[in-house]
Symmetry: C2
Subunit: 261 residues, 2 copies
């Protein structure tokens, strides 16, 4: 494939919650020369604002349920406060950022998660990405910044997993670009031993991934994260990396590279 | 001028606060065939959420001051909740809406209002509109939906008057389009007698406007609104109308048309 490189980065709560870390990350991100896309998750601000408003988090089997009030708060915090703060910071850094939810220009179409055992409320599962429009933005030197709010094209906004959004956008954009997808999180990579922060597994292919799950090395939150990674690789994304914020600065060689073979 | 027509509509709190009125307005708006732009103000939801969070509105001489906490709330509510709800509703109506703040793609550059007698806090006065990018959106059949949040390109978001935003965008777009700017508010138009809701002055030119101010017929909130209207007309906007939501449906002849001559 001889397509142009598109760099995608997904950041989570650990960076969003720390003003200095976010500032430093955005500076590094703004210095990426290639066309680029940022996807951001939530962070503790939504919980703080829910609490300030006197809302009680609704949990089922340890998982948060997006009821009507929670959807309002996450829409406000993710699509409003965080997305616009990040966008304004990137503009300061001369990166022509444009904040987007899935409803904007129908970028991310989703459906309300089907109720089987548990009703997660207004949680969205992604159906389609408007890759043509995202391409128009990139061609106009715009850097899309996605929050994790989608819609069902029937007027309903939906709370959606940010890792999944990053993977689905990466897959859709791989029709036009050679896509490198970077998941930035609190660890240096996928760890061999959770107690040793430097025990990064530097390369995981599909076979090793299946072995690591079988051996219980990958568990809990890493399972859906790696599922998203391999789903992206299987569906056309060229490169997927997992690591901490130094991954973007290229100052580290310690991170996890995922590949099919 | 032989340019294509661009219809702009600005809506305020009276429509945003009433779910049925908003729904009905958005249906009419979505049926406008021409390229179109929506600008929306705030409404009472920001006040409700401020109160729910235990914030006390800070007022100086009867005017609300945008302190740091208020800026967070209006950013959440205007750019998050309201903007995305409106966008999702328009998407349902097959209008390819894209919600924007002024920070997004540097659409509306502003500066923090200079402190003279009163410090209004994080209130923004508009300096420049990115008309080229807005044109790219319109050419891609996107309908921009602007909230009244701007930025200073130095990382600071700012709360800005929605009427002013509508006028400034209309002026900037008049370089490329024949612009019709419609201000939708709670009255049928500019009233001769505030006690008679049907005493609409159907045509006001610049000379009459000055006379009406001198006679005290136009006062309070109508003064800055009409100032914005005439500023737009003087700077290239072709048509400016003021009226209630029926203005958009073209089911009424009772509204105010403003013109220079």
């Amino acid at each position: 494939m001889n397509n142009q490189l598109l760099k995608m980065v997904k950041i989570g709560g650990n960076i969003i919650n720390d003003e200095d870390a976010l500032c430093s990350f955005l500076k590094d991100f703004s210095e990426i020369d290639e066309p680029k896309i940022l996807v951001h998750g939530g962070g503790k601000r939504a919980t703080e604002i829910s609490e300030a408003m006197g809302l009680k988090p609704k949990m089922i089997e340890g998982r948060r349920v997006t009821d009507k009030e929670t959807l309002e708060v996450v829409t406000m915090v993710y699509a409003g406060l965080l997305n616009k703060k990040i966008t304004a910071q990137l503009q300061k850094l001369n990166c022509n950022a444009l904040g987007l939810s899935g409803a904007d220009a129908n970028c991310i179409l989703a459906h309300k998660r089907i109720v089987t055992d548990v009703d997660y409320g207004f949680a969205g599962d992604v159906d389609a990405i408007n890759a043509e429009f995202i391409k128009v933005l990139l061609q106009n030197n715009i850097t899309p910044v996605f929050c994790a709010i989608t819609h069902d094209k029937n007027g309903q906004l939906l709370n959606t997993n940010a890792d999944t959004i990053a993977s689905e956008i990466a897959i859709a954009m791989s029709e036009f670009y050679e896509v490198e997808l970077n998941f930035v999180f609190e660890l240096k990579g996928v760890l061999e031993n959770i107690a040793d922060k430097n025990s990064v597994i530097q390369h995981i292919n599909l076979k090793k991934y299946e072995q690591l799950i079988e051996d219980g090395v990958i568990s809990e939150g890493m399972v859906p994260k790696l599922h998203n990674c391999f789903n992206a690789l299987k569906k056309g994304v060229q490169k997927v990396n997992i690591g901490d914020a130094s991954l973007i600065k290229n100052t580290t060689n310690l991170f996890t590279v995922l590949s099919i073979e």
